[in-house]
């Protein structure tokens, strides 16, 4: 029994590892939501009492610690872990007709390193001084001088950096594995332009991860050296903190920002590209139409990937960076709106003339498109340095990033879960519960994040523990109250999802191998698939990924593995 548990836990089966990533992301997202609710409570009721906090009322440093940990957990352990590692690890080999990842043991090591990174990060709550207060961006000198700059900046900040370093190693290892698998392990006939768009998205994302996380790894090492070994990469001469002259000299705080955002901006696309892939696949499946402009979708995914490396400076318009650079970054940032707009256009084109079936995964994919439009367009304001004068560091930015990289990415994850659950567990999730979850969440997220734009436009500054010290900010308190109520509501309806998920794992209606009448290869095997994915059958690919409603075909879908002569067989 112990041996069996051991082999299940430390499995190199990509399907087991995919599920492990999925459950890790679930634990992380619940943690992240709880932290955000504590913040939202404090923002709405700054004098409100919380029973489990020493002194009863949350202090500014406790608020900032929650803020730092919420951002870090969500961005690394949810938005990087779930869309890419959970679903990519599970479905990438299945969708290209491979029986395993290229490096199964490396795959396992990647997961366990990610898990270790998560534990190290959580440990920051329990050390002297608590969790760091420098935000998920950890700008030095605030993050680079030790606990003299504030509580949490001692051991807590060190653990934060160590956690991120471990995460970086894990991510780079797993991205290399993804790239090798896609290049080397495709089934015969699976040409690049026959790959599902999910695979394309994981492919581009893997390249982004490999290139950007390795830079963050280097930056993190330098920050650790500054803090613990007396170097001065990010600390200039003459720093005086609480009347104490520091011994550093020669470093540049802006260097960290360049390195960090060289990672940080591609990270946005790391979170969202897999969601774009899933949305393309799900919209096509449930419109019963091919993806509109498949080659354009591949080109725009790649263009976003390439341009994504040239826009990091838009986080730094008012940082003291050369203003000419600022304008250059602005133009590059505006350029990335072009492939993004083209994608949206192609999603609408996929729906156009279709036969739309409103399953739960489809609803979340449609929600993704709406949220992506809203969240993406607010970026057009922030991409302009002149306008950034008034919107930088306000809640407008918080609303923008939460909609486009948080909510849209999570909608992509929900679409993926509802879509692939039957394949992963051999059972269907409840559709009525899934739909209730969608409608309440869709309304809820807009109730949280739409007013947040208005708060930013009215001058609400982000990362303030409360709005009580500045007169014009006090006037915005009713908006805070509204958003807090909406946040508690939206968090509460996620209970429907978790109930549905865990209940369906055990008592859901048994699923057939292809319950959605879909075309891609994961539906060509049993639900769940055997250890070697496809059993004794030889996997061959004869056609593109989205052959729906092909004129003259007897059914409205033709699976990729179907030879040209054989007729398709609709299931049940």
């Amino acid at each position: 029994m112990i041996g069996r548990t051991h082999s299940r836990l430390f499995s190199s089966d990509h399907k087991v590892i995919g599920l492990q990533y999925c459950f890790l992301a679930m634990i992380a997202v619940v943690t992240g939501i709880v932290l955000s609710l504590l913040m939202r409570y404090h923002l709405a009721w700054p004098k409100g009492h919380l029973p489990f906090i020493t002194g009863g009322i949350m202090t500014p440093e406790q608020y900032l610690a929650l803020l730092t940990m919420h951002g870090t957990i969500m961005i690394f352990f949810v938005l990087t872990t779930a869309p890419q590692n959970a679903f990519g690890t599970y479905f990438l080999p299945l969708q290209i007709g491979a029986r395993e990842m290229a490096f199964p043991v490396l795959n396992m090591i990647g997961f366990w390193l990610t898990f270790a990174a998560f534990i190290v990060l959580l440990a920051a709550f329990f050390v002297q001084g608590g969790a760091p207060i420098s935000g998920w961006t950890a700008y030095p000198p605030l993050s680079g001088l030790g606990d003299i700059t504030g509580p949490g900046e001692g051991a807590g900040q060190t653990l934060w950096i160590v956690s991120i370093l471990i995460f970086c190693v894990a991510s780079v290892l797993s991205s290399v594995n993804f790239i090798a698998t896609i290049i080397e392990m495709r089934a015969p006939g699976m040409t690049l332009m026959r790959m599902p768009l999910t695979v394309w998205a994981w492919f581009i994302t893997s390249i982004l991860i490999m290139l950007s996380f390795s830079v963050l790894l280097a930056a993190g090492v330098l920050l650790l050296l500054d803090r613990s070994f007396g170097t001065s990469f990010f600390a200039p001469a003459g720093l005086v903190v609480t009347s104490q002259l520091q011994s550093h000299s020669g470093g540049s705080p802006l260097l960290w920002q360049h390195l960090f955002w060289f990672f940080g901006h591609p990270e946005v696309y790391i979170a969202i590209l897999p969601g774009m892939g899933v949305t393309s696949q799900v919209l096509s499946n449930f419109s019963r139409k091919p993806v509109f402009g498949y080659p354009a979708m591949v080109v725009t995914l790649s263009a976003i990937g390439v341009l994504g490396f040239g826009v990091w400076g838009h986080h730094m318009f008012v940082s003291g960076m050369n203003p000419y650079s600022g304008f250059t970054f602005s133009v590059l940032t505006m350029s990335i709106a072009v492939p993004s707009a083209a994608k949206t256009f192609n999603w609408l084109g996929t729906l156009w003339g279709g036969k739309i079936q409103f399953t739960t995964p489809m609803l979340f994919a449609l929600g993704f498109v709406s949220v992506f439009i809203t969240g993406g367009l607010s970026g057009i304001f922030l991409a302009q340095p002149a306008v950034d004068n008034i919107l930088h560091a306000t809640y407008f930015v918080v609303a923008h990033l939460h909609l486009v990289m948080g909510v849209a990415a999570i909608f992509g994850v929900f679409a993926a879960i509802y879509y692939w659950f039957p394949k992963m567990f051999g059972r269907m999730m409840s559709e009525p519960l899934g739909k209730a979850h969608f409608w309440l969440t869709f309304a809820g997220v807009y109730c949280i994040f739409l007013p947040m734009h208005f708060m930013g436009i009215a001058g609400g500054i982000r990362r303030y523990a409360d709005f009580t010290d500045v007169d014009y900010l006090q006037a915005l308190q009713p908006l805070h109250l509204f958003m807090t109520i909406a946040a508690f509501f939206t968090a509460a309806v996620q209970i429907i999802f978790f109930f549905n998920f865990f209940r369906s794992m055990f008592v859901g209606k048994p699923a057939t191998s292809n319950p959605w009448n879909a075309t891609t290869l994961e539906w060509a095997t049993t639900s769940p698939p055997p250890r070697d994915n496809f059993g004794p059958a030889k996997v061959m690919v004869y056609r593109g990924a989205y052959e729906y409603s092909v004129p003259g075909a007897p059914a409205d879908f033709i699976p990729q593995h179907l030879p040209p002569s054989a007729p398709p067989r609709p299931s049940s």
């Binding site: 900032l64 009347s243 419109s287 402009g293 256009f345 302009q384 306008v387 001058g459 010290d469 729906y548």
Partner: protein, 273 residues
């Protein structure tokens, strides 16, 4: 799955209604002008405002069009037992859509250069009043050069807030004898002002909404920023870069006053040093 999925009208209508509500609510709030920045108090602030409003109209139009197209497509093409049309794509449409996006977004970005370049690419006009802004956990200090028009030398080793030298002005520096240090920023109306932003410890921010000017203060750097206020009044200065546990209370005022009041202010402050 059945060939025709029953009950696709209700979700289609519901989805379209949610989108319609979203669009209507967003447009209504913007038209009500309930949430907006306060009136600009410099020509450049007015130019930034203009660019913001231009962006709002263009992006607003794209937002309404895109969301309504989505709602329409979802409603119009709901499953009513029809057969889906096989439309794999259209190169002409892709090119047209891409060209439109290039013109709208890059055009808007190019127009936005003016308001940025006006104060960031060029230095201040000659005859500007210079004020040094020093930020530290968790306050703003403003230094005026005094009658000689020159700032005294600073030495971080001499910083001693308790002994009345929070900036570390070198007592042996002759230019420093008449420097004036204040807790609020007073400037005369209609005169160009150049700020020199510094920080002693961590990165801080500097934002005056009415000026539409925001800039980080970075230790190790002296960052210039200039403006010409055209309206007398008292305006908030807030810190916009996370700087530690007192971030949200790091706050000061910009006081734009008549030339006479400004002279009086400088005299009073000089006497108090």
């Amino acid at each position: 799955m059945k060939n025709r999925q029953r009950g696709s009208t209700l979700p289609a209508v519901l989805f379209a209604l949610v989108i319609l509500a979203l669009v209507a609510f967003t447009v209504a709030i913007f038209l009500s002008r309930k949430f907006a920045s306060p009136a600009p108090i410099s020509d450049n602030a007015a130019a930034v405002n203009h660019q913001y409003l231009l962006t709002l109209w263009i992006v607003g139009a794209v937002f309404v069009l895109a969301q309504l197209s989505l709602a329409f497509a979802v409603f119009r093409f709901r499953d009513r037992g029809q057969r889906a049309r096989f439309l794999p794509g259209s190169v002409a449409l892709e090119v047209a859509c891409t060209a439109a996006a290039v013109i709208i977004f890059l055009g808007l970005g190019a127009l936005g250069k003016k308001a940025w370049a006006a104060v960031r690419y060029t230095g201040p006009p000659t005859g500007s009043i210079q004020v040094e802004v020093t930020e530290m956990q968790f306050q703003f200090l403003f230094r005026y050069p005094g009658a000689d028009g020159k700032f005294g030398r600073l030495d971080p080793a001499l910083i001693n807030a308790a002994m009345g030298n929070p900036l570390g002005i070198d007592p042996n520096s002759p230019e420093g004898k008449d420097d004036i240090v204040t807790g609020t920023l007073a400037v005369p109306v209609d005169r160009p002002v150049e700020l020199l932003l510094r920080s002693q410890d961590v990165i801080h921010g500097f934002l005056v909404r009415e000026l539409r000017l925001q800039q980080d203060a970075v230790p190790g750097m002296i960052i210039p920023l200039h403006f010409t206020p055209n309206k007398i009044g008292k305006y908030d200065i807030v810190c916009t870069q996370l700087c530690g546990l007192g971030h949200q209370r790091m706050h000061s005022y910009l006081e734009v006053m008549s030339e006479a009041d400004y002279e009086k202010f400088l005299k009073q402050q000089a006497a108090a040093q």
